[in-house]
């Protein structure tokens, strides 16, 4: 498909902008099929994803350990630019992946940690326990998932952490309206 030449561009010019259209180069991959067509690519993909689920716990453990390793480096060397980035990326990956892997509360705790890293004016002034509690919570949620009562407890734990983190962030950003707006803005992803 990609080897085909792009169609001719049509350009309409205005005083301060151009509007460029081209024949849809991907139109050929759109097939008209009868209503009776039984092909279900989404269902097929969901099944394939379910087929991977046996690996999710292991993947989540790897992600949580990466976060703990990044945190250990911060504890040893402080918040350098690289250390901050690695801690943020490790937390951010958990935030994005954990729900897919079946650990939504770990994702919520990781999101709370991401907000601290992103919005604290000076990470060296963030109470060390606040960050440590987030990391310990994520590890605990991942390790204890198989226990019966942990889903409710994990959700409660991540909500409490988020509450404490938000209280801290609102306090330290009271003179930084841009950050306050971002902290208070609702997420586009519905809460669990």
């Amino acid at each position: 498909m990609a080897k085909e030449k792009p169609g001719t561009l049509q350009i309409k010019s205005f005083a301060d902008h151009h509007v460029i259209t081209q024949p849809n180069p991907l139109r050929k991959v759109l097939l008209r099929v009868p209503e009776s067509d039984l092909d279900d690519p989404v269902g097929r993909a969901e099944k394939a994803l379910a087929g991977l689920s046996g690996e999710f716990k292991n993947w989540m453990t790897i992600e949580a350990d990466r976060l703990s390793a990044a945190h250990a480096v911060v504890l040893r060397d402080g918040f350098t630019i690289d250390n901050r980035e690695e801690l943020f990326r490790a937390a951010h990956d958990i935030k994005g992946d954990a729900a897919t892997f079946g650990f939504p509360s770990a994702g919520a705790a990781a999101e709370s940690l991401c907000r601290i890293i992103e919005h604290a004016p000076d990470l060296d002034l963030v109470p060390a326990e606040l960050i440590t509690h987030h990391i310990n919570a994520i590890q605990a949620i991942v390790r204890e998932r198989t226990k019966l009562d942990t889903a409710v407890m994990a959700s409660k734990l991540s909500k409490q952490l988020r509450g404490v983190a938000d209280e801290f962030l609102l306090k330290v950003n009271r003179d930084r309206p841009e950050h306050l707006e971002a902290i208070l803005a609702p997420s586009i992803v519905p809460a669990e």
Binding site: M1, A2, P6, K12, F14, A15, D16, H17, H18, V19, I20, T21, Q22, N24, P25, L26, R27, K28, V29, L30, L31, R32, V33, P34, E35, D37, D39, P41, V42, R44, A45, E46, K47, A48, L49, L52, W59, I62, E63, E85, F88, R89, H92, D93, K95, G96, D97, A98, A99, T100, G107, E111, C114, A182, A185, P186, S187, I188, V189, P190
Partner: protein, 181 residues
Amino acid sequence: MYRIDFNKLRFLICDDNPHMRRILRTLLHSFGAREVYEAEDGATALEMYSHYVPDIVITDWAMPIFDGLELAQMIRQPESKGNPYAPIIMLTGHSEKRRVTVARDAGVTEFLAKPISAKGLYQRILNVVASPRPFIKTKTYFGPDRRRNTNNAYIGPERRVGGEMEVMQQPSLLDKARSNI
């Protein structure tokens, strides 16, 4: 009813997380795609973009070396030798409204907030295949038309000078990002 013939599409996926790449690859292969190329950072993705000329790019935002936002900006160079018009789907853990706006202003075509779902990904691909938007070029922007709605209640100056253009009726990127998550 329409269906996408995925085996004719070439994808480039860019994510530094190997687990997410595996999930994406699994989903795309299950849809029927055969050609799926993978990069683990923006710089490698840009090289692969020039080499493999993918039909659709799916990229993460937060990555080392240069990130998905910079990748989108590098692809959306109107004078570049490569194809600056390829649809870019940003698949990211960022879930704030302002991020959607920043991605849009970098030339991203569709925004999909993690956690990923087969349905959400399929719908974004269907959107870029079935409903491509015209491109707008100004002094400061080159990318898909950012105006998806005609807002009859808008009061204020027309920011595009020199005539009123037709705007395709589509839900906003933010509304689409919010849906089907």
